[in-house]
């Protein structure tokens, strides 16, 4: 594997649900539609979008927890989307996941150290060695010996999430998919977990695919950001550039909707109204047209192509042309 090769490359991935029904006539729910992305070594790629846009499905699809409908997933130079369950098991230790809700991410019938050493035992480690490695990693994430033999319900949310992070990195994976890792936590705990994840990334050379709807968290964590809307990536850019100069109207709306922690400012009028259309009956044309504040007639006719811009940016909108011309961002409270 060459050094410049990405650790993960996803090409035109489609994940549809519920095809078939009686007589196969029911239309499919297109949770993920033609998504391509890359994650480089020790890179953190953010994936943002509102609820129901397919972020979580994409994350689970990449880990082959949900079978893809079409497309390819190349992990560490190997095409894994067609792998059988048996063959997948040899790849799985290298790609792990941190879950959103620490209350359900740990088996309630297992003590913490059992949960953390389970991945090791699943991969053939002996009991003593696995226990020692699990103890070490728990120490690293800040859970001392007094926590080893507790059950998840005897710990706080932040402590549980530390255990979940420990379990995800104990196998020394190359890629960790983080599905809203801090959104279930108190704001006071969030920074601790995020810094822990950053430290682990530095120490162990991890790559993260960081799924979140919290833009301030994404800005803090990510090198590059992908914006997802209704199963499609609508914009991709380096984090700094995306926040400084968002090109897609949806990205601009997301940034403008982020709350500003200042009581003297009037509450911003939400730039978007209504809900996203159903991913079962998609309108023709741009998927965002129905809610876009800058919609033009041609938007409703055909779907815009991906436009590749300089500095590795991508945007899917008719308005953004080759030169980056969109006006300055209406930045919300993201500093």
């Amino acid at each position: 594997m060459k050094a410049d090769e990405p650790i993960l490359e996803v090409k035109k991935l489609k994940i549809y649900f519920g095809r078939g029904g009686f007589g196969g006539r029911r239309p499919a729910l297109r949770a993920v539609d033609d998504v391509s992305l890359r994650v480089g070594h020790t890179e953190t790629v953010g994936l943002v979008g509102e609820s129901g846009c397919g972020k979580t499905t994409l994350g689970r699809g990449i880990l082959c927890l949900i079978p893809p409908t079409a497309g390819s997933i190349i992990f560490g130079g190997e095409e894994i989307s067609g792998f059988s369950q048996r063959r997948l098991r040899s790849v799985r230790p290298k790609m792990q996941m941190v879950f959103q809700d620490p209350a359900t991410a740990l088996n309630p019938r297992m003590r913490i150290i059992e949960s953390v050493r389970a991945p090791l035992k699943a991969n053939g480690w002996g009991r003593t060695r696995a226990e020692q490695a699990a103890a070490e990693i728990l120490e690293t994430v800040g859970l001392g010996a007094e926590h080893y033999y507790r059950y998840p319900h005897e710990m706080s949310g932040g402590q549980r999430q530390r255990a979940v992070v420990a379990r995800a990195v104990v196998l020394n994976p190359q890629l960790v998919v983080c599905d809203e890792p801090v959104s279930a936590l108190d704001v006071s705990i969030r920074a601790q977990i995020l810094n822990l994840m950053k430290d682990l990334q530095k120490a162990r050379g991890l790559s993260y695919l960081f799924i979140s709807h919290d833009l301030s968290v994404v800005r803090y964590m990510c090198d590059r950001v992908l914006v997802m809307y209704l199963g499609r990536i609508v914009e991709a850019a380096a984090a700094e550039e995306l926040f400084a100069q968002p090109l897609h109207p949806y990205t601009r709306a997301l940034l403008a909707a982020a709350p500003i922690p200042d009581i003297d400012l009037p509450a911003p009028t939400p730039p978007l109204s209504g809900e996203a259309p159903s991913p079962i009956h998609l309108p023709p044309g741009c998927r965002f047209a129905a809610r876009c504040p800058e919609v033009r007639p041609e938007c409703r006719l055909r779907e815009p192509e991906e436009k590749i811009l300089p500095k590795g940016r991508m945007v899917r909108c008719v308005q953004a042309d080759g030169s980056i011309c969109a006006g300055p961002a209406r930045l919300g409270g993201i500093k």
Binding site: R92, S115, P119, A145, E146, Y148, Y149, Y151, L171
Partner: protein
């Protein structure tokens, strides 16, 4: 390295303290007086039913010369119309009833647990086949089906046990199926899959421990119901066949109005024994339920 060892030692201490504080299953079970009483009664019954007839040298089939005698010196619980000793028949009959109840429950669970588990975990065709079959079983009145089956085959203890047991599998399967449906979506199951565990190990290590506890607590209730079903069948004359005894066919005697009113010793002990057994088993079920709910017993150090 030293830190890790030291950490493990102090962790062992913590573990011991926590186990002591929150207690094992048994100490949580023993908190309920009713549950202890129930266990005591059933334990006593098992001992008395198995050892009693041997130690007292009683035979439930010997026909004596004294018919319909009330309880007295020779026969502690009296004799029936054939001169058989009623204590012997009560002990044998109780044993038979208890055996049928427990064995039928076990059969229902052994069939229902894996079927419900597979239906809930794999869904799809497995789910359709298993759960529609369960619906089919549940849509037929149990008593009628058992009567038909008993009429078709000769009623015997093994046949009755099998039939009552098979009839109870949909209850166990549905319970497990419903729980498995929720548990399979939990994130710890997804996590186990990302660790590369096989389906078998996910089912045994992650799904089963999180879905079976309601089964432990319904098991005693199933057992009590099986005993009652057997008694009802025997009372109707299609269950355990005389001369073999069971609690139900001892009660059969009460169908005769003369026996019912003027020879209570022939059916009252069997009735009391049946009630005590069923109540005790239900107490055990309730005790198990409380002991399994670890959150009820949450202790923070």
């Amino acid at each position: 390295m030293e830190q890790v060892v030291a950490g493990r030692q102090s962790a062992d201490k913590t573990r011991r303290r926590q186990q002591k504080a929150s207690g094992g299953f048994w100490s949580r079970y023993a908190r309920s007086k009713a549950a202890l009483l129930g266990l005591g009664v059933i334990g006593l019954e098992i001992v008395v039913f198995t050892l009693g007839p041997v130690l007292l040298q009683l035979d439930p089939y010997t026909l004596g010369r004294e018919f319909n005698t009330p309880p007295g010196a020779g026969h502690i619980l009296g004799t029936d119309e054939f001169g058989r000793d009623l204590l012997a028949r009560l002990l044998y009959g109780g044993g038979v009833s208890l055996f049928i109840g427990m064995a039928a429950t076990l059969i229902g669970m052994v069939v229902g647990l894996p079927l419900g588990l597979l239906a809930g975990y794999y869904r799809g065709k497995t789910e359709t086949v298993v759960m529609r079959l369960a619906d089919l079983f549940l849509s037929v009145p149990e008593m009628v089906l058992i009567l038909v089956l008993v009429a078709a085959f000769r009623p015997s203890v093994p046949a009755l046990t099998l039939i009552i047991g098979i009839m109870s599998w949909p209850g166990a399967a549905r319970l497990i199926y419903g729980n498995t449906l929720t548990v399979r979506e939990r994130e710890y199951i997804q996590a186990a899959r990302t660790h590369g565990l096989s389906d078998l190990r996910i089912l045994s290590g992650y799904v089963v421990p999180n879905v079976v506890s309601p089964l432990w607590m319904t098991m005693p209730f199933h057992c009590a119901r099986a005993i009652l079903t057997e008694s009802a069948l025997s009372f109707l004359g299609v269950g355990v066949q005389p001369p073999q005894a069971s609690l139900g066919n001892l009660l059969y005697a009460a169908q005769n109005i003369v026996v019912m009113s003027s020879r209570p010793w022939m059916w009252v002990p069997a009735g009391l024994c049946l009630i005590a057994t069923v109540i005790s088993i239900n107490f055990i079920g309730e005790g198990i339920r409380q002991a399994l709910d670890i959150r009820d017993n949450l202790v923070r150090p």
